[in-house]
Subunit: 322 residues, 2 copies
């Protein structure tokens, strides 16, 4: 038997995407199914298993699949179970790895979206060959996948790398959805960017295109478009975001001595306005032994396929099932 | 050949200790030599090699030694080189691993003191069987050895785990020997404890035994003795230190999802005055998924032997030499 493929499954709140991916990271075939509308998790997995088998059979890949990798919210990589995912329609815990393995007969691993993105970048993207880097996912929340010494950090229960919830002093007066104050996520997520813009708009009277956006439509994408169009205040919003990320990365450096930090997710689309401040803040705030060492860049995987490629890369790492 | 022993070498600025240690962590025999007084590093290693060979031969251990583990300041575990150690008498870089291997014919690994302490605790101490913990060394400086998924985090150049130099907001106005402000070390090292005491003494007029200690003699040990004797302000000094450590550990938790934090080093002698505040701060400040999970304790290795046992444990881990 020759291993030619993996299968990536990206479980979203509304839709589940899956793809047959070759070992070079090319998507050979893809399919999807609704995540919602099934009476229970077992029915969903039955439908998912049929889709997986369909992909394998239609592409003559039987016996050539190394494994299935699932990227899902709140996934515990160690146990293979989804725990407390508020945006999935079934009660937790969901023993998804066991269910999928039984439905397909294919070895399955799972990880959260941010971890999957990091492994995808290391397997197929710009971090190929890099054994020490941090992938920061800047979207609705802020997540991270930390690769140290070539390993994806998992931790006692698979909850390593929740770097969106480290305390960040600039954010001390910002409340986080987790119930605490000061999480990095409150400045570096899409909502954090909007909050920064709101505060800047309130703090001075400069003209800005942002003032013309109705409050409900002031989102990170709109602020990014204003920055693209040259709006000074919109650019400053991302400059501030980059500075915060850089200061946080100065602390992250002391943890894992990384070679690179890679940004990913919706907010990273405005990276060109964040990277200069981010790099400057890292060099200014990192301990001397980490200076002039840490490359900061944006994921090289296409936005639309990164989640599925991240999931498809998971069978290449050794996740420890307990 | 049966492997029965390792050799631990603890390189201090004045003396170098070495010991033949059996696989259960018992010190079978020990020796020492002065670190200073040799014309160069090669001469020092020659003397060290003779001591190692002497220990092996005198105890009938030839062919039964798994390896030599060296704990040394500023040791780069990845390259085997000591870089920029200001308290060693030779110019850097010192390719100590290569030199010792050539002098003894025994496979050698090196790590910094804090990492060695962590591996020692995992190999011989209370962390046996624990795959996720953080060892905090609280002494002249603050160091850490981070064990995640059973691995000692090394990082790109072996500088992972410099947790004494993360930015800690309570310390924003304290200058660190590294040239920056706000390092955790400025509150949690021996000098940090003294600085906290000085500030408390200046901030109010309460009577305290600490006021009777002449300024040059006000050190962490003296403050610990005052706390032992029931001095209220001395106890508050360590309570504050514990609170700072707990808040910092709440951030560390988000990095590696640990089961335990273990304290080690001179300042940890006053642990009974720090642990309650430390535990309280972790539970208050950690993200909910880490609460009621992280055990905080003090190293179970005897203070006098912990460094040498840590060094002796290093051959049991896979350090990657580049």
């Amino acid at each position: 038997m020759q291993i030619k493929y993996t299968i990536g499954v990206d479980v979203g709140g509304t839709n589940t995407q899956l793809a047959l991916v070759d070992i070079a990271g090319r998507i050979v075939a893809r399919d999807y199914l609704p995540t919602t509308g099934h009476p229970d998790a077992a029915s969903y997995v039955k439908a998912l298993g049929a889709k997986v088998t369909g992909l394998v059979e239609a592409n003559g890949a039987r016996g050539q699949v190394k494994g299935i990798g699932i990227g899902a919210p709140c996934a515990n990589a160690a146990s293979g179970v989804i725990e407390g995912a508020t945006n999935l329609p079934w009660p937790s815990p969901i023993p998804l790895v066991d269910l999928v393995e039984k439905a397909t007969g294919i070895s399955t691993v799972i990880s959260n979206d941010a971890n999957a993105a990091a492994v995808g970048e290391m397997t197929y993207g710009s971090a190929r060959g890099c054994r020490n880097f941090i992938m920061l996912t800047l979207g609705t929340g802020v997540g991270a996948g930390v690769i140290c010494d070539g390993h994806l950090l998992s931790g006692s229960r698979g909850f390593a790398g929740e770097l969106g919830h480290i305390f960040f002093h600039f954010a001390a007066d910002r409340s986080c959805e987790c119930g605490r104050y000061g999480c990095l996520q409150t400045v570096a997520s899409a909502g954090g960017v909007v909050e920064t813009a709101r505060r800047m708009l309130a703090a001075d009277v400069r003209p800005s295109a942002l003032r013309d956006i109705p409050a409900p439509e002031l989102n990170a994408r709109a602020i990014g478009e204003a920055a693209d169009a040259g709006d000074r205040m919109a650019i400053e919003v991302f400059d501030f975001t980059g500075r915060c990320l850089g200061e946080a990365c100065a602390t992250f450096a002391a943890f894992t001595d990384p070679d690179a930090v890679i940004l990913f997710g919706g907010v990273a689309r405005a990276a060109r306005f964040m990277l200069p401040a981010m790099r400057e803040a890292i060099e200014k705030h990192a301990l001397h032994i980490y200076r002039n060492r840490i490359k900061v860049s944006v994921s090289s995987l296409p936005d639309s396929d990164a989640a599925i490629l991240g999931a498809a890369s998971l069978p290449f790492i050794n996740t420890t099932k307990s």
